[in-house]
Amino acid sequence: MNLGFESTDIITLLPEIFLLTMACFILVVDVYLPEKLRHLTYQLAQGTLVGTLLLVISIYPSSLTLAMDNMFINDAMGALLKLVILAIVFVVFLYSRSYLQVRNILKGEYFVLGLFATLGMLIMVSAHNLLIIYLGLELMSLSLYAMVAMHRDSAQAAEAAMKYFILGALASGMLLYGMSILYGVTGNLDLAAIATNISDADSNKHTALVFGLVFIVIGLAFKLGAVPFHMWIPDVYQGAPTAITLFISSAPKIAAFAILMRLLVDGLSSLYVDWQGMLILLSILSMATGNIIAIAQTNIKRMFAYSTISHVGFLMLGVLSANQAGYAASLFYIITYSLMGLGGFGMILLLSRVGFEAENLDDFKGLNERSPWYAFIMLILMLSMAGVPPLLGFWAKWSVLNQVIQAGFIWLAVLAVLFAVIGAFYYLRIIKLMYFDKSEDRTPIEANMDMKITLSINGLIILFLGLMPDMLMAKCLKVLQVLI
């Protein structure tokens, strides 16, 4: 293996290098900052994200570029996913600031860990080698474990972190095991090489490959949160401070989607018949479990957790169609999902205040009386999650269902719609609570102006993109055509 650098490699890696440098710099600076200047950390972190974002745009690839001896890939899909991840993390930091501040956990660690996790995600997105994928994944996961545990005084958070860590380690182990089998069979770590090797592999290697594939799919399913590898999600979502839940539920899903695409589509596309079957199974289980159990939840964070699980089921529908349009539909879905999730948890953060966590469904009662505008934003979010036209969530569901039907799985589409109907119940229940029930809480809603504006934009963009879904959809299709 030749690890020689070339100057173009540096350019391709520039966003990641910048992010790493700044993360280290902030870590050092934060130690010496007096408490009253703590907001400087926040500003530096946000500045870092913006800088990275600009760098990603400046090297936006016109064609597929490989760097670092084919270990690192820069393609249009990757660039788009990076942009979305960075934008989302930016908004996450923005939403979280005052929540963390009033709970006295607005420490440099949050931002540093967040930036490192982001770095991990970017690496996952651009990985073109099994080892790099694993490195990126672990960098992200370890940062997230620590973030969940950051609220040291909370037993609940500690328990959640512990569960997350142990189960995550188990899943990582399985993923690594699967990768090692792949390496054993093909003798390669490079995804493109593996793909070539598999496509002309003889049939007695097939069993071994599928054996490895099962472990890889499980590793991915854990990160995405597909049933039955979803058990950590409700507990962690509920146990972690809401700001951390917001972080975990949004950007990492996109990164997980990226490695799903890298591994299954870039690397193992010859085995698609096998992973298609697995994804169908996981998808049905996720949609069923997610939507049905969500109904019984009274804690909104837990409800969102199960809602996430059901969305993951839908997300897989596009991938399992195993064609470009299907991948594009899934890409569209994951971006839509992160926007909606961001808004949903953002609303919880907005309603929370000192000594009060707006995490029960009843806390949304009569929101319309307290604040018609935010009740309206929440209405958009919930209807979009339920998949009501003309909101973005409808188009996301529509496009994956369309692809599933195109691929010939009409029964699966029917099943998915049935689960979506069941799912509509718990989203509509929130609307009912907001508009038709009397509020028990009369406290006015207070938040920073930047949060208020961003949250409003967050909701409106779902409405706006829902009215013109072509803009985003065309982008998704375009970046996928560049792939492969």
């Binding site: 569960k163 142990i166 099962v214 499980i218 039955p228 590898f229 049905i292 159990i293 019984a296 119940f425």
Partner: protein, 653 residues
Amino acid sequence: MKNIYLIIVLAPLLGAIIAGLFNVSRRVAHTVTIGAVGISFLLSLVVFKHIILEGNPAFNEILYTWLTIGNGSFSLPFEVGFLVDSLTAIMMLVVTFVSLMVHIYTVGYMHDDPGYQRFFSYISLFTFSMLMLVMSNNFLQLFFGWEAVGLVSYLLIGFWYTRETAIYANLKAFLVNRVGDFGFLLGIAMVLMYFGSLNYTEVFGYVQQNEELVQNATINLIPGYQWSIMTVTCILLFIGAMGKSAQVPLHVWLPDSMEGPTPISALIHAATMVTAGIFMVARMSPLFELSETALSFVLVIGAITALFMGFLGLVQNDIKRVVAYSTLSQLGYMTVALGASAYAAGIFHLFTHAFFKALLFLAAGAVIIAMHHEQDIRKMGGLKKYMPITYWVSLIGTLALIGAPPFAGFFSKDAIIHAVAHSDRIGANFAYFAVLFGVFITALYSFRLFFLVFHGKERMDEHTRHHITGTPKVVWIPLVALAIPSVLAGMFAIGPMLYGNLFDGAIFVEHSHQAFHADDYHGWFFFMLHGFMQLPLWFAAAGVGVAYYLYMKEPDLPELIKGRFDTTYSILIDKYGFDRFNDWFFAGGSRNIGTKLWQSGDVKWIDGVFVNGSANLVGWFSSTVRYVQTGFLYHYAFAMILGLAVLLALFVF
């Protein structure tokens, strides 16, 4: 001419839209609608001159194809087209003239009503719909007009929608007409099925060229029985006419429709809409002529209506209801004419009846205004001196109604009786008896009403007497305008309509069914003289005599008779029990079935099992499986391992 036809139809529609949709003042509303209908009327006169006086050929053109369904061997265009021949031209004249008179009259009658603009909008809309109906050149547009007039009728019966009785009446009219329309629609479907076209010219042309073939065509409705297609089609179409033209047993809605304002009773429920059925059958004469059975059916239904509805007029005390039952009876006369293949006589009676019945209704309306909305004739009497104009026009109308020469009704009614007498169709004997005796009854109830209202003791209370108002100009002008044709229409029209060739090409009568022969006719005056030697006139005279004796000479006698013939009286008051039966059997029955279906089907199965059941099931399942999420780490890890095992088992081994 095409543009003229379009303007005739569209002007009232435009008027209706302006008066109804824009928030215009009362003055604008009546000016616009009266102006629009006035234009229609004047242009209808032009059309009348063009088609009838100058004898130009009929206009038949498709103006607009809305859509076409089907392709290849079968295609059905949905078209808007006009067929204007002598039949249509007469109908157009009647409709626009009566409508114009009613529009003007309404200015006075509805003067204080808050729904003034709405009312004008409705009656203009009605005029548009009725014109679409009579000018249509295909069955679909006919059906459109048919339903549109039905809609406006519904809206107008319930015009005073805060009255419980008005709502009941318009619902009743709506439902009963639905029964008729169902038959009508089936009839149209039969036409489409057999002829493959809904255009009059194509259908009638085919019939005329293949008469034998069409007459002998059969259909197998019930296995083992062959039915003549023409009989089934014509009876179905006639069921439609029975609904719209209120023939027994679908007549029940018409008396109740008197809940609507009086101008409506005159325009829709006497002069025009209810005669749509008569017009339709006359228009379909090429089809009806091919089925003796259907014509007999028409004849008998008409005869029953003519006689038995007349009886009911004898016991009613509401001024409008008496006139309403007289309308039913007269519609029966027209139907009898159709059944006897004397379509021309039916249309002739429709024509004369439109004038004198509208006149009678509007006169009744004038009386009602004067009496401050008192409609009970037992509380009237001696009104002659208070409202002389109304008195004289009412006398003209009543004389026309009973068929006294030389008034319009005499000619048309005599023609019908003459036609029935010459018919050898099954049921013709019964029909002859019915229409002949009907003349006596008509004269009796008409003059009973006339005497009770205008002559005799003044039975109203003091307060009302002092406040009897005079008749305003907008009310008496239409009355006089209608009185003129009530006198003259008969003598001038009988020649061309019955004995001339006016309806050639519009109405088709088998040669053997012809009742009127040009050789027998020597002018209206001789026809009248001839009438003096016939029974009907003497029956009418007897009716007037009896009415005079009972209500002028011996006013106590009716009470005595009522007591003596108690059973008969209660049957008549009960209107032969039609309403009671319908309420009990149809309304009650369907409500019971509905309630049962609702309880067992909807509440128990759909709501209980499907809707709530599935929701409960999901809820229960959800609350059960949530306990799988135990919170124990080793359970979670176990689930993962289990998932791994299942995936391996399924995909590897």
